[in-house]
Symmetry: C2
Subunit: 194 residues, 2 copies
């Protein structure tokens, strides 16, 4: 087991995934376990928010810290919901509500452009040291109503380019091989370890 | 001369300094020379804005890009002017006006705390690749009226910790040895080259 890395999340469920995605090179502890408060996400970009959260956790814990920020951007909605993807699901994290909102907003635009993309930004910051920031993206098309119950968030309405199934229908392994998160982690590993 | 690096600035005067601070390892071209538009600085942190500008220049130019964001933060003004340091000088970049504003705001607080710090954030972003972000800081005390005509911006009212002269009075070499910019570049070189 490697050096300790703080995952700036309060969701312990994410730890095994992060540990695996970083080839088991770090011993992951969460900001929640260390009792670190979550900073307000004041930035207007995924990378800005990921950097803010990583920097905050690193400076408070004195350990290197990893943070992510991700979301769905819809072309015909000028990139919305974007960094507000989680907030569109409301306090109850009701993504059926959020997907409904995307559908309604699209209808309001009267555009038939259903293209969209997922972005995952990852940042690792060292206390009083540099930070490395990467971004992964996967393009696709939205379908309504959503299909499938796998994945989470907006997955049921998102068909990645070159595929017929939505992320909500896909086998997790299939999704993980091409997702924005996987691409971001691949870039992060290249930046950290190569 | 090394690989090309875009300096996300429209001030050609900065090129020699940047080239020197990076040990001549890069051939510097400015965003202005490439005709790249300046993005709106929408982030609320120095590192967020530096990252935004570097990412923007890298993605538009297809070359690695360096950007900086720096400013003065006054303790008794809750860190103001901070990322608005340049904007307090108005469109005419009148820093006498900006220094006056700092003095007046301080008097309004009736606090006798004159401590402040300069921050310099630097970001290097690779097109479709990672970004490295660092921050340098120097602490000090404000004096009014300002003293000295060297340096620029708020230098005449800033006495770095452990010194008697303001940045405005100091020999450029003396200032460069300890400034927030020098510290940021030292961290950047460590992150890039070590």
């Amino acid at each position: 087991m490697g050096a300790k890395l703080v995952a700036a999340t309060h969701n312990p469920g994410k730890v095994p995934e992060i540990a695996a995605l970083l080839d088991g090179r770090f011993e992951i502890v969460t900001a929640g376990q260390l009792g670190l408060p979550e900073p307000d996400e004041t930035e207007s970009t995924f990378v800005g928010n990921a950097l803010l959260k990583a920097r905050h956790a690193a400076d408070l814990s004195g350990l290197p810290a990893l943070a992510d920020d991700s979301g769905l951007s819809v072309t015909a909605l000028d990139g919305a919901p974007g960094i507000f993807s989680a907030r569109w699901a409301g306090p109850g994290k009701d993504f059926a509500l959020a997907m409904k909102k995307v559908e309604e907003r699209l209808e309001e635009t009267a555009s038939d452009d259903r293209t969209a993309w997922f972005t995952s930004a990852l940042a690792v910051a060292w206390p009083n040291g540099p930070a490395v920031v990467v971004e992964g993206r996967v393009d696709g098309t939205l379908v309504f109503p959503g299909r499938g119950t796998r994945g989470f968030g907006y997955d049921p309405i998102f068909v990645p380019e070159g595929h017929a199934l939505t992320f909500g229908e896909m086998e997790p392994a299939a999704k993980d091989a091409m997702s924005h998160r996987a691409r971001a982690f691949a870039k992060l590993k290249a930046a950290l370890f190569d």
